[in-house]
């Protein structure tokens, strides 16, 4: 017998109830409990939507601190040797250089419109973590609060 965390039944489907777990490692996940699995108290995870798959991959890459930020406000910060970048708002990424000031950046993966939102952040997170110079070189930018948009690189990067 396996212990199953508490869940709410969302809908009765042909093969068993669709439920949402309220606690444990599957908290928030929607799952179909097959009839046989119900009797054995185990669950089969329902196939995920593209956005759910992308978010799952993103969450798996985040540090606990970043995961907490993402859960509370759908943004997370990445510390680089040039400054702090906040990912989560498309086309308007907050950047605070170590040298002071504040900018908004626009950086996107190629053909980003065919990617779920979570994958856009996976893409930018990996670039930023491993090559922040390139990220800040290609970024279009503007000064806060109301500067005009400029082509990259962001000021201070070329000579850093």
């Amino acid at each position: 017998m396996i212990d199953v965390p508490a869940y709410d039944v969302i809908e009765e489907l042909e093969h068993g109830p669709l439920v949402r777990f309220l606690e444990g490692p599957l908290a928030g996940r929607e799952v179909v409990l097959a009839a046989r699995a119900m009797s054995e108290s185990s669950a089969a995870v329902r196939s995920l939507t593209p956005e759910q798959r992308a978010n799952e991959l993103l969450l798996s890459l985040l540090t606990p601190q970043q995961r907490s930020e993402w859960a509370s406000r759908q943004r997370f910060t990445v510390l680089t040797r040039f400054g702090t970048v906040e990912l989560g708002e498309k086309f308007n990424i907050r950047y605070c250089p170590n040298a002071g000031g504040e900018y908004r950046l626009c950086v996107v993966p190629n053909r980003c419109t065919d990617l779920p939102g979570g994958d856009v952040w996976v893409n930018l997170l990996l670039w930023l973590q491993h090559d922040p110079r390139w990220f800040l070189t290609v970024a279009n930018w503007r000064r806060c609060p109301h500067g005009e948009w400029n082509f990259g690189p962001v000021p201070g990067i070329r000579d850093a």
């Binding site: 995920l48 798959r53 798996s60 950086v107 980003c112």
Partner: protein, 76 residues
């Protein structure tokens, strides 16, 4: 078993291989080389490790637990 996750409109496309299955390794390496030729960028990480443990790779590593493919970036 190793897994490649290629970012796509479905979330990601999965390519798996088993080190004891030469055909699956060959297929995965072929896919790796194809993506690299199309200027996609590969990172390897231990399963579910955070981004800090991800490492950029330039050649197929059959012993990698997970390889994530991302795209080039540009100013938007």
């Amino acid at each position: 078993m190793g897994t490649m996750r290629i970012l796509s409109e479905s979330g990601d496309t999965i390519v798996d291989w088993r080190i004891d299955d030469p055909e699956s390794v060959t297929n995965a390496k072929r896919e790796f080389d194809l993506l690299a030729a199309h200027r996609q960028i590969a990172f390897a990480r231990p399963a579910n490790a955070s981004v800090e443990e991800a490492e950029r790779i330039h050649a197929f590593d059959a012993f990698a637990e997970e390889i994530i493919w991302i795209r080039p970036i540009a100013g938007g």
